[in-house]
Amino acid sequence: MKTDKLTIADIATYLAQKKGITKKAATTFLQQLTTTFDEALFRDGDLKVKSLGNFSIEWHASRMSVNVQTGEKYEIAGHNKISFIPDKPMREVVNKPFEHLVPVIVDAKSAPGNDTWVEDEELRLDRFSKQAQEILGIIDDLQNIQPKEKAEPTTTPVFSTNEPVNEPEPVQQDASATTQEIEQVSEPVTTAETIATNNIVEEKHEEETLPPSFSEETVIKEQMAKNMPAKNSKWIALSIVLAVIVVISIPIYYYFFIVNHVDNVASPTTTLGSSTPTQPQTLNATPSQPVKPPLTATQVTPKQPEKTDVLTQPRTYKEKLATETFTVGSRLTLMALKYYGNKLFWVYIYEANKDKIANPDIITAGTRIMIPKLNPGLIDLHNPQCLVQAKALQTAYTKQKNIKHTK
């Protein structure tokens, strides 16, 4: 912007016109002004002139530099420099052509990495709290049921204490061992209608049949069995154990919620709620399928090696066992429990209704779901491989969705 360069003479002409003084006097004035500035500046080291600005002499310390031509290092000696900072009124007047412009916020876009991280954390916390609520709900249910029951505590602690150690197979074998015996004894009473009565009858049977099935049980179970007469103290101990398990499983779930999902979430529910008490229901629901002792005789249920074949076969869902309409409280796992006797088998219901269910976690109320009739070899509660397979599928589906399924 050096289009025009005014000199003292130009300013003097202006002053002479404006103030009615001679041009010479004005020139003298301006020259004296600069001389005074000069003197004052070098005398004091700085100079403040109202409505013009501040001059100051600043010391610049010596520093090393490099000659860009030769790459040679040399020292710049310390020296003084004159700096000038204009006064505010001066700056404002000079900036007048641009004063109407104000800073504009282009966008309030935050750093993308930061953003997603925060969202992720929120999502996790959300899931985590949901999970905690569900576990609390299960505990509440359990506590509501417990006063009526006698023997239930003996089975639950075994499974729950095993659960954190991640040993699904032995647990399931134990379960099947006990349930087998129960069924054998309790077959006469399977006609009983309500679950409650079923449970009580069953527990009694279980109590009787406990000693034979003892061999593989853990020490904890022995202790619990001994404590059985002391109903109250045992009940308290159970709730404490459950609370401890919940507290332990929350952080574990939080950090490995995808990988350990099956072990931490599904297994307690299945073992707690389903394995023993609902056995008669399965018998009722599928009366044509005999239970294990006569298994070998029937044409439908194959032997152990053939069962594994059933598991590996691609599953088809042609026959319909029932149709369910989804309501607000409905869960695939509860349906699986109702029809197949174990919550884990929800994966098959999901597979059969994949066209209707986009996400097993979110199913809109009113969705009509086909409950498929499954090969009994696939949902054999006595075969640990069935449970393992269902677990594997569950893990696969939950991973696939990257969201846990709700029970």
Partner: protein, 99 residues
């Protein structure tokens, strides 16, 4: 101790055939004229002292490092003083100022 505005006026009036009021008036007029000329893009050269130049600063984008908000800073015009070579040399040769 820096020279005050009043001292400047007194000093000038003692050396010039003007009263202090006249000096004040002349100074104000001079500086106003300078500012006005500079706002129009003209620079003012004081022989033996230096040049007052208007420099245009282009618009630029700033990013607030704390909240990443991007702001467009509009262009502006600032005053730059360029001392003459003689003044620069005088300053260089002078004793060390530390203030």
């Amino acid at each position: 101790m820096a020279m005050t505005h009043k001292e400047l006026i007194t000093d000038l009036s003692s050396k010039l055939p003007f009263s202090e009021n006249e000096i004040t008036d002349l100074l104000d007029t001079t500086f106003a004229k300078m500012a006005e000329e500079m706002s129009m893009g003209h620079s003012i050269y004081f022989q033996g002292f230096g040049t007052f130049e208007p420099h245009r600063k282009e618009e630029r984008l700033t990013i607030n490092p704390r909240n990443q908000i991007r702001t467009l800073i509009p262009p502006k015009q600032v005053v730059v003083f360029k001392p003459t070579q003689s003044l620069k040399d005088k300053a260089k040769e002078a004793h060390r100022y530390e203030n």
